[in-house]
């Protein structure tokens, strides 16, 4: 039952995030989707990923998108439609992708999988694994994030420097 409620909120948020005209409303709907996904992670027993989702997506990415929207706000309203001319084709492509995915899921072995009991995973186990088995990917992702942040600042700063 709780799964159905969370799923409905998540999907409704996703639809609203991409159909509303006001960009700030879109981000608020996106936050609803991210929170719903965090709820689904918690339901699946992945507490750490659920809280990481709230921290990173609801906390950081949504705020970043709001900043970008406010920094790029045009005074003139968007001329004409908010969608591209060939939008019917795009929607048909997306519907076809969903149809193929749904068909593949329905006919896969997942649909006859027995429901297993919840795996008991503590944050301590995740931390141990991150510091032993997955230490190299952890370092690489740290390097990637540093490079991405330096790159993002460099890209966004370039114009300012040239003006001096």
């Amino acid at each position: 039952m709780s799964f159905a409620i969370i799923a409905v909120f998540t999907i409704a948020g996703a639809i609203a995030a991409l159909t509303l005209r006001n960009l700030v409303h879109c981000v608020l709907a996106l936050v609803l989707t991210f929170s719903g996904l965090a709820g689904l992670y918690l339901q699946l027993g992945a507490q750490f990923v659920g809280f990481a989702q709230i921290l990173i997506y609801v906390g950081a990415v949504a705020i970043l998108i709001v900043f970008a929207i406010l920094l790029t706000r045009t005074h003139e309203p968007l001329a004409g439609l908010a969608v591209s001319p060939g939008w019917i084709t795009s929607v048909l492509v997306a519907a076809a992708v969903f149809g193929i995915l749904a068909w593949a899921i329905r006919s896969s072995a997942m649909s006859i999988l027995p429901i297993s009991p919840h795996p008991e995973i503590s944050v301590r186990q995740i931390g141990d694994a991150l510091m032993s088995q997955f230490v190299l990917p952890l370092e690489v992702i740290g390097l990637l994030l540093t490079a991405a942040l330096v790159g993002a600042v460099t890209i966004a700063m370039r114009e300012e420097r040239r003006e001096k």
Partner: protein, 103 residues
Amino acid sequence: MTAPVNYLLVSAVIFAIGLAGALVRRNAILVLIGIELMLNAANLNFIAFWRYSPNPEALTGVMFALFSIGVAAAEAAVGLALIITVYRHFHTTDLDRIDSMRG
């Protein structure tokens, strides 16, 4: 108790919505939001497969989802920085009006 198929179907719906949004909308920021939705749908799949895998103690699904969240955060930061730079140059985020390479 929810069957694993339901999580996969929700994930497929979110992926399709994100794809439609990324293809349909003309605003660059909304295209980025569509891409974020697709990444999140993939993460939901990772967690669902981990939860119903024969040995979840291996933690591989959780780790993959965590690293994927990290990569998505880096992608969002760089993507938004690019959008802000493009906006400074063209004074619009309308993708149909950003049509020249040298401005």
